[in-house]
Amino acid sequence: MATFMVRRLANHAALAVLAASLGYLLAAAALDPRAGLEDRAPRPPESVIDARLGALNLDDRTPLAERYLTWAGGVAHGDLGRTFDGEPVDAELWRRLGVSLRLVVPGAVLGGVMGVALGAHAAIRHGRAADRLISGGSYLLLAVPVFVLAVLLQIVAGEANDALGMRVFVWVGESAPEASRGALWDLADRGRRLLLPTATIALGQLAFHARYQRGLMLDVLHADHVLAARARGLRRRDALLRHGLRIALVPMTAYLAYATGLVLLGGVFTETAFGRHGLGEWLVDSISRGDVNAVAAIEGLAACAVLLAALASDVLAAALDPRVRAGGMP
């Protein structure tokens, strides 16, 4: 088990380094920071542009390999370079990451838990009305892209505001721009502004998890260990939840990495739709400005996130399934 984990870890680390490097090379080759400076009015003189690009390690006349080595050397020392405005990338990266996490995590957790619960419930009630409702609902929900779902919820919330005659639902921005009205009020306001984005993310996640969990749970409905538990006198529901769900959750961990990618991706759209200044918005801005260092940092972070999720899913699978702990992979 331990050697397996160490080998997995080394493999993941190598992939992360390679993915980050490839991310930088792609961004450096595809983006055009020079155009960003040349478009400024009044247009700066050529020598100023060259000096600026050189200072930021963005000069497209320096060979790509040389720029990459400068960048990689900096990253090895924990320096991710500077943004287009000369600010350090890592400070902005962590700040933006905070905004994104506060936006995405509540919805992802809620959606994951509810999705698994609903999927398991649907499987237990296989073929009945509850199953049909959950299956059909998640099927339809999966076909609605995040950016459509966000706007739909905004329309519904807007209608609700009109019907109630006051602004109960507010969704643009993380906190109120006006003066503070006390710590408790601020907290409540932040929570209120999270309602819609959380619902958006949770609904997408819920549909995905429910659909997948239902299939897994159906596989174990008639499994031997569940029948054995029932033979020992457990009621069907208890046998299924205690012995069936546990095994059905094991393959689910493999989807954790995939779901993480899905959440990261959804973050880009939810931020756009709800006016948050998180990583997704930064990525879109940075790409249009040709801010190579910022884009490379975000790509590296995303690659690391996916690998961390893969690692977490390995550990979770080991915790849930004794067969994995014994050394054999299922």
Binding site: L15, A16, L18, A19, L22, G23, L26, A27, A30, L31, D32, Y139, L140, L142, A143, V144, P145, V146, F147, V148, V151, L152, Q154, I155, G158, E159, G215, L218, G261, L264, L265, V268, F269, T272, A273, L283, V284, I287, S288, V295, I298, E299, A302, A303, V306, L307
Partner: protein, 269 residues
């Protein structure tokens, strides 16, 4: 729903949507690129069936043009990515050894790289309209299928009839084409049909962010982005485009799931 019913429902729905997207503009009174300077953000009327956008375009014609682009990009990207997955997967599984290692390692690497980010980074350099966009999307959608195809090929090449053909001296290209490919057909058919919806959603998402289909041309994503600001007061532009997008994805999913269950009775639940 039963597999056959899903397949038929999905296929009929898809055909209707195609008819609407490509036949609708013929009966529309306005072209998608015409601007009506007398009507900015108007409600539905006899002149503009679904009203106009804030820049005076006819919502009906404008959105259908977007649907055409989204459908074309989605179908092309799905076919390209499935083709690529088939080529890489069979090569890796059939040749094994060094080729296999390199190809699968490349697939793993692309899986770790967040493909959506890569496509957005490359997007500003993507010129040449929807065929190039479809190719760019396809380049990042083939990896998982390639692994599945490789696994299937490994199984197939040990089957008796393939072994028999090999001992009779049949060459590798002919062996793959005559004896391995037919065994992969159902896997690839399912993959292609499910990829269409992934590609359509990815394309409209890119366009929504401003990285996909470029103005003056439109896709469902740009229409949705354009219409969302005034969606509460003027729901036509947003509602029509969003409805079409969801319907297309549902239709493709129904068809894909139906095909999968029809070919594999185990999965039919």
């Amino acid at each position: 729903m039963r597999a056959g019913l899903r397949m038929v429902t999905g296929a009929i729905l898809l055909v209707l949507l195609f008819l609407l997207a490509f036949g609708g503009p013929l009966v529309s009174s306005r072209g998608w690129d015409e601007t009506d300077f007398a009507a900015f953000r108007q409600g539905p009327s006899s002149g503009h069936w679904l009203g106009t956008t804030q820049s005076g375009r006819d919502v009906f014609a404008f959105t259908l043009r977007g649907a055409q682009n989204s459908l074309l990009v989605g179908l092309t990207a799905a076919l390209l990515s499935t083709g690529l997955a088939a080529a890489v997967g069979t090569a890796a599984g059939f040749l094994r050894g060094r080729v296999d290692q390199v190809l699968m390692w490349g697939a793993d690497l692309l899986l770790v790289l967040p493909s959506f980010l890569i496509v957005t980074v490359l997007a500003p350099r993507v010129t040449g309209g929807w065929p190039v966009l479809a190719a760019a999307l396809a380049a990042f959608m083939w990896m998982v299928t390639a692994r599945a195809v490789r696994a299937a090929t490994l199984r197939l090449r040990e089957r008796e009839h393939v072994l028999a053909a090999r001992f009779l001296g049949v060459g590798a290209p002919r062996l793959v084409a005559r004896h391995v490919a037919p065994g992969l057909a159902s896997l690839l058919a399912v993959d292609a049909s499910l990829n269409v919806s992934v590609a359509i959603v990815a394309e409209s998402g890119l366009s929504y962010l401003g990285f996909g289909v470029r103005p003056p041309d439109v896709s469902l994503g740009t229409v949705i982005a354009d219409g969302q600001g005034g969606a509460t007061a003027h729901p036509w532009a947003f509602g029509f485009a969003a409805g079409l997008l969801v319907l297309i994805v549902v239709a493709v999913n129904l068809l894909g799931d139906g095909v999968r269950d029809a070919l594999d009775p185990e999965a039919g639940r």
